[in-house]
């Protein structure tokens, strides 16, 4: 080794193999899920491999209540990620920019929401809605999703605001821009990527959520709730297909976002 001395603890190859083994283990059930979307089961149980088919892809929306559960999930995810994006950006910007009275309390509440068990958040929201006599449904699910997403968005946005170069904003105000103009023309475009990744995170948290949704849904059925309800009678291959499509879409968005930020880093 002629390079600068690096710290070597040894066992590099072993750790390399081990890391890949763990990654394989992490994706194994996903691969199984994808594979069984192409399975051609004869009975009700999609458990053993019985031949290859594309038919579930053409019949993916055949089960109407499954389709409407997916639509419900998507609508809730869009609405709650937009709301938590707006609210979280406000908190994240303020916390990153100023120290103010109550900021440490707010910080502590955010920390608690991030580290609280979902079970407790779900049951406590349920008691609130029961106490208020509010009917459970898509609205209460959305309220709950915004609640647990806001802190994540705020944390992501704050991390970006902290590293913001203040002199750019000062230059704008020196040139006569008011605080409002400065924010929208200068600051917001800079923190935009952080806001976007916060919104994406909120979207993923919402569409994937089971526990909190389970407690706040009432009779409304989301995609994870439908799957939960169908496990006892056996999952139809359509669920595998939808899972595969969501996975592929998520992967695609993540890869595009990554490539774009890389291209941007090169340009800068």
């Amino acid at each position: 080794m002629t390079k600068t001395r690096r710290f070597r603890f040894g066992g590099e190859q072993v750790m390399f193999a081990y890391t890949w083994l763990i990654i394989l283990w992490l994706v194994a059930p996903i691969l199984i899920m994808i594979a069984f979307g192409f399975n051609n089961p004869h009975g009700r149980y999609n458990q053993t491999w019985q031949g290859f088919t594309f038919k579930w892809y053409s019949q993916v929306f055949e089960i109407s209540d499954l389709t409407s559960a997916l639509v419900t999930s998507l609508v809730i995810a869009v609405v709650s990620s937009v709301i938590s994006g707006a609210l979280g950006t406000g908190i994240g910007y303020a916390l990153g920019r100023w120290r103010f009275r109550g900021s440490s309390t707010l910080n502590f509440i955010m920390f608690t929401t991030i580290s609280s068990p979902e079970l407790i958040m779900g049951i406590s929201l349920l008691t609130l809605f029961v106490t208020l006599g509010a009917g459970l449904g898509a609205t209460t699910i959305t309220i709950a999703h915004v609640m647990f997403s806001v802190s994540f968005v705020a944390t992501v946005v704050r991390a970006r605001v902290v590293t913001l170069d203040r002199s750019i904003e000062e230059a704008a105000s020196d040139l006569g821009a008011g605080p409002w103009t400065t924010f929208w023309k200068i600051t917001f475009p800079i923190i935009m990527p952080a806001v976007m990744s916060g919104v994406l995170l909120a979207f993923v948290l919402s569409i994937d959520d089971f526990v909190v949704t389970n407690f706040t849904a009432g009779t409304t059925v989301t995609f994870p709730l439908w799957i939960w309800g169908a496990t006892r009678v056996g999952l139809p291959p359509q669920v595998n297909v939808m899972g595969t499509l969501i996975f592929a879409a998520g992967l695609l968005i993540a890869v595009i976002a990554n490539l774009r930020s890389r291209a941007k880093a090169k340009r800068d």
Partner: protein, 287 residues
């Protein structure tokens, strides 16, 4: 005027989100505490009677499940620390240009619904499924062997589902280590094992603690894994709460159990926040 506006700015920005957290996170904790001390049923309504009996019942009737959940959570966390450290270590020190790719691969499971992933494990582990059937055919396992329904299956599911929450904070802590500190140790003739024990590991500890917090809490209150992969002998406290709240509509009982669980877990969280601060968890969450 402008000055007033400027001092108000942070409050105005924080207000909507802060109110949301107050109304739907802090207030519900209060209603849950209140309901846990009430009596009655769904039809006739609940009355606040300061009914401590709910807590007595919660502790006496569900002590087994409560202790089991804490034990499962603890075992999961210990297994996770041991499993995750080498991964985080390897990515942080040997990942090179591909660090973010490896982290991305570790986060891949999050693109598939938590429930769906767990059900997929049941499909893999089922008694005559793709994993056990060939092994039984080959005579490597006895025909009566099964994994599903055992505590191994439940803890395996918990480990699987929470692994990334342990790897990430440890990685963040290792990544932060200044390479000059390590070089200094080497200049002082520390052998690699000593460097690890005296420099790297102590500096990684905050990450390990953050990971413990981020996995122990959700794992011990989980009910999906034990419901999908377990049996009646692996029932966790989350399942009890879910059944009491959603099947029996016994909200006071569900609240009392939850509050007891939360008291135990929150005690841990408060001690953690006091001793170590909230920085590491927030940093890992920001990734």
């Amino acid at each position: 005027m402008n000055r007033v506006k400027r001092t108000l700015a942070p409050y105005l920005l924080v207000l909507p989100g802060g109110l949301w957290l107050l109304l739907f996170f802090v207030v519900p904790m209060v209603t849950m505490l209140s309901l846990s001390l009430q009596q009655g049923d769904v039809v006739n309504g609940y009355r606040f009677t300061g009914h401590w009996q709910n807590y007595v019942d919660a502790v006496t009737d569900y002590r087994t499940q409560m202790i089991r959940s804490l034990v499962y959570g603890l075992v999961t966390t210990v297994v996770l620390v041991v499993m995750s450290f080498p991964i985080a270590y390897w990515i942080a020190f040997y990942g090179g240009k591909r660090k973010s790719t490896y982290l991305f691969l570790l986060l891949l499971p999050f693109f598939v619904s938590f429930v769906l992933r767990t059900i997929s494990w049941r499909q893999i582990l089922t008694d005559d499924g793709m994993l056990l059937h060939p092994l039984k055919e080959a005579g490597l396992l006895s025909p009566g062997f099964h994994i599903l329904g055992t505590s191994y299956a439940v803890i395996g599911g918990l480990v699987y589902n929470f692994l990334p929450f342990m790897v990430l904070p440890i990685y963040v802590a290792l990544e932060r280590i200044d390479s000059r500190v390590i070089e200094a140790a080497q200049d002082l003739y520390a052998v690699p094992a000593t460097v690890f024990r005296k420099v790297v590991f102590p500096l990684a500890l905050p990450g390990v603690f953050a990971g413990v917090l981020m996995t122990f809490v959700p794992a011990s209150s989980d009910y999906v894994n034990s419901a999908v992969l377990g049996s009646s002998s692996t029932t966790m406290i989350g399942q009890v709460v879910q059944a009491q709240a959603l099947a029996n509509s016994n909200y006071p009982m569900a609240s009392a159990i939850s509050f007891t669980l939360m008291a135990v877990l929150l005690a841990g969280i408060f001690v953690y926040a006091r001793l170590l601060g909230t920085e590491d968890v927030m940093k890992a969450a920001a990734r």
